[in-house]
Symmetry: C2
């Protein structure tokens, strides 16, 4: 099968031209054409997934197709943008039709769930590499940014944290979980749920947001630096976000999973204390838990506080692709 | 050096916020924000470059930075769009500061020449892979498409064709060129010139356009199929587009270079015969040669005709990344 047959068979579908569609021209021309609605800004994000770095070579291709788009939708969620369209660039070591069928199935199932159309891309031979660029729209001036956190704001996190890291520890042979716990943690690692509805529901409520992809402390650090503030984190509240098997875990490992696990694709966000009811309503509307885990403070840096008010001294390294 | 230091050092620059800038928020948030002007559509294209496939491992990183953006700008040119912004996703086997300095220098020199801002992206460890997604704007309804060619239209090509393939033949040890001829051909292979000004000048004149990246016959084939037409190509006119060393080449090789060479990044386009003066004026305005090389005809397929009217029977394979 050649490059163009491959694209035709697995990645070309008629554009839906639904009323909400902003894609005028899809795969098959030199460019896709998008027409954002009047008064809308376009939010754009690119993520590249490399075998052995972002996923294991043994991963189910359907889950990988899901995850490749999910990590991009998570960036749109962190801006409060509504997904519109995406491009897919794919380097494949060989044409494996079973893999392609599974990958495109997982990709399109998530794309359809979010009304996000594949509008273009590229296919080439090479070491397995998946690069998606996603486009969303957000009413002008309402995007959630990293720079809006203010001293006194509450610090919130969505969903659960650390499950993906737990699954990775099992894969690495450093941890045993029961079958149900491992399956649940593995699903969170391999098929994360981007918090797209929550991000949109938080527009006008949250003062800043970031998606948690490299671990809570690392990604929160981007918000704190961009906003010129610091934060206090309630360690007990954060630990309660570890859903699977947490009760039987070594505490140091549980802390590492929750605070610096990576691959969570939850949102960390800030909002004024006066907005607590609004944040909780947004969580209910988006059908995802939202939990207060701390407070934004003026002094830079992060302070981790135990239930009795003592500071937790441990340091946690955020994920860095070039760290040795 | 870590991932974020690397981005800061080589890829983060203040957004220019020039009057024409449509980028509101650049690298450093979850998404970039773009605001196309009223009445404009956004043209989007993604290209992925893989070492050993799209470039040799020995290539000068400055030229590679240029080429990675140039092949994307060439897609915008084929749509008649004005470049606005791009995202860069980069997988690097290691942090090589000399390479990064050269790559970013070549990339930004071309970006600045076209007023195209880097607004976001991703950096990861992995086999060398460069994925750029480029954004341009085009007045609504005026984009040059592949589907507009009509029987009777002239078939045109910009610039010169086949030089990149000549250089590749030298690298492969199948051909010898004198030093000046090789340098010129190699420059065309390693640092192609996207025909951005020509594409915009052809809006309202050309009926269809495509950029020639996989060879003239292959890319023209996309136009013919999308338009439901065929074409007659004047072999002598096409051969005259081979700029470097053509006079001393074997004729079969010269034909292969011009008709199926690949990596040309020129435009093939169609226009009514009544528009010849307008096409030539567009070429002059864009400072690039435009040459009539054939005619669009109703019967499907391509007919290659010698100067005496005899058909050329040879078949030429277009470049296919998965062909064996």
């Amino acid at each position: 099968m050649g490059e163009f047959d491959l694209i035709d068979r697995y990645f070309k579908r008629p554009l839906r031209h639904a009323p909400a569609s902003r894609a005028l021209l899809g795969p098959g021309d030199d460019c896709a054409l998008l027409a954002p609605a009047a008064g809308m800004q376009l939010a754009v994000s690119s993520d590249m997934l490399v075998e052995g770095r972002h996923f294991l070579s043994t991963v189910d291709p359907t889950r990988l197709g899901h995850k490749a788009l999910a990590v991009n939708l998570s960036d749109l969620a962190a801006c409060g943008a509504r997904p519109l369209a995406f491009t897919l660039a794919l380097a494949l070591p060989r044409v494996d039709e079973r893999w392609l069928a599974g990958f495109s199935e997982g990709l399109f199932a998530l794309a359809d769930a979010h009304g996000c159309e594949l509008v273009g891309g590229d296919t080439t031979a090479g070491p397995l590499n998946i690069c998606i660029t996603v486009f969303g729209e957000v009413p002008a001036g309402t995007a959630l940014l990293r720079s809006g956190a203010r001293a006194g704001d509450d610090l919130w996190a969505s969903g659960t944290l650390g499950d993906a890291r737990l699954a990775l520890e099992v894969f690495r042979g450093r941890l045993a979980l029961d079958a149900a716990g491992f399956d649940a943690a593995r699903l969170r690692m391999e098929a994360p749920t981007p918090r797209v509805a929550l991000g949109q529901a938080l527009r006008g409520i949250a003062t800043s947001a970031v998606d948690i992809s490299d671990g809570l402390l690392g990604d929160l650090g981007h918000v704190l630096r961009a906003s010129g503030v610091g934060a206090r984190i309630d360690v007990a509240a954060a630990l309660a976000l570890l859903a699977h098997g947490a009760q039987r875990l070594d505490r140091a490992l549980a802390l590492a999973c929750v605070l610096a696990g990576g691959d969570d694709y939850e949102l960390a966000f800030t909002a004024p204390a006066t907005a607590r009811a609004a944040v909780e309503a947004a969580g209910r509307a988006a059908q995802v838990a939202v939990t207060r885990i701390g407070t934004i403070e003026a002094p830079p840096g992060v302070r981790l506080l135990e239930a009795d008010g003592r500071p937790l001294a441990r340091r946690f390294a955020s994920f860095d692709h070039f760290a040795r």
